[in-house]
């Protein structure tokens, strides 16, 4: 059901964890359909995403979406990062199952909530 890249993100997720310290911002989101949650923490420096990490108690789709979102954000200039949308992540992980659209929406919402504070 998941693409090989999505499975890879799920089985070997990138940027797992929680950043702390000065300059770290955090965004959280919940998938109201199933109760899964996601948190993305990031630190901006020099006008770009210097560090990013995620945590999620969600399904394989949620973890894959968060991992791909974090990997996409890492190193991006903030202006580019703010253009993040669901379609970008779903294209990266394509073909993305319709039943898992809530997962990409959650990952992107958590990222946007964090970016809004930068």
């Amino acid at each position: 059901m998941y693409s090989p890249l999505a499975m890879d993100h799920f089985l070997r997720p990138r940027h797992v964890g929680k950043l702390a310290g000065p300059g770290v911002v955090s965004g959280v989101a919940t998938n109201t359909d199933c109760g899964d949650t996601a948190r993305i923490t990031l630190r901006a420096a020099g006008g770009a995403v210097a560090e990013v990490a995620f945590a999620s108690d969600g399904c394989a789709g949620a973890i894959a979406a968060c991992s791909a979102t974090a990997a996409w954000l890492a190193g991006k200039p903030l202006d580019d990062a703010r253009a993040l949308d669901v379609a970008t992540i779903e294209r990266l992980l394509a073909p993305w199952p319709d039943a898992k659209k809530g997962c990409t929406a959650m990952a992107v919402a958590a990222a946007r909530a964090a970016l809004a504070q930068t």
Partner: protein
Amino acid sequence: MTRIYLDHNASSPWRPAVARWMRSARAGRLGNPSSLHREGRAARALVEAARVHIARRLGAADPQQVVFVSGGTEANNLAIHAATQGRPGRAAVTSIEHPAVLRPMAALAQRGWQVETLPVTAAGQVAGWPDLGPGDVLAVMRANNETGTVLDLAAARRSAPDAWLHCDAIQAIGKIAVDFEALGVDTLSVAGHKFGAPLGVGALVVRDPNRIAPLQLGGGQERGLRSGTQAAALIEALRIALDEAIGEQQARAAHTARQRDRLEVLLTQGVADVTVIGDPRARLPNTLCLAFGGVSAEALVVRLDALGVAVATGSACSSGSGKPSHVLTAMGAPLRGVLRISLGPDHGDAEIDTAGRHIVSAVAQLRRIAA
């Protein structure tokens, strides 16, 4: 990679004797059991011999009480249809039945039947029996597919001696004793693929075949109760699997329960925040239903699949739908992180230990990702 298959409540692979039969030249040459020629007569003889065998194995007094159908869903639909023809009336159904019982009951409710859904305890036992009389219908499964809870059919019968009692015994065959007469039920559903027959065959045992009206109309096979050419090869495979499953049930159940308990100990001792769901005093010997706090069951199943271990979330039917299981909801059990592990008849210690290790490590990994 060698696979460890622990999802026998969803479907159990063909038994070797079934596979030998299905691949045999004879199985491939059977004619239509209604035909007059030799090939047809051979098929009919096989079907009728299977009916006699299966009736005896299931404790039905008369082979004519056995109606061959395509599987569990059809058996349940036919039973409920048979029990509720024509007149509207009263029915009661446990809240933890399979959708193949609940949905036909919901359809009856829309046609004017008064249908009561019976609440269950935290263990999954019916909390209180309704007051039903002649002509009323009561549906109580022998054992639940998600939690393995074995229901009290004797209490069901005592509560409603004159009602039509339907028993979905699909998860019980080969795991615990199932005897039609001893259970005192009016209809009993069987699905072959749950005990090593191929998918596509099942049976409904009916107390009074004259009282049942067909759902499916056509050529009048199965004495008019279920039209459609009988799947002779599959029916013989059903006989072979049922013979073995019931013949070995007692010996296998002890072994299976030992291995299930071994896995339960490994997991409850190896993982923090885990809850065992089901009735510890009345549980199928092969079923282990566990809630792991703080993780998603879907993620666990997908990760374990990649490690070579096949298990299920709460319900194979509702997995992927994202909806919480109606069974767990009715029991007031945890709804998240619920894994259903269902063993087959012959796992060795090493296989169980490997599965246990993989589950412990998958939970740990997911909890690290969630932290």
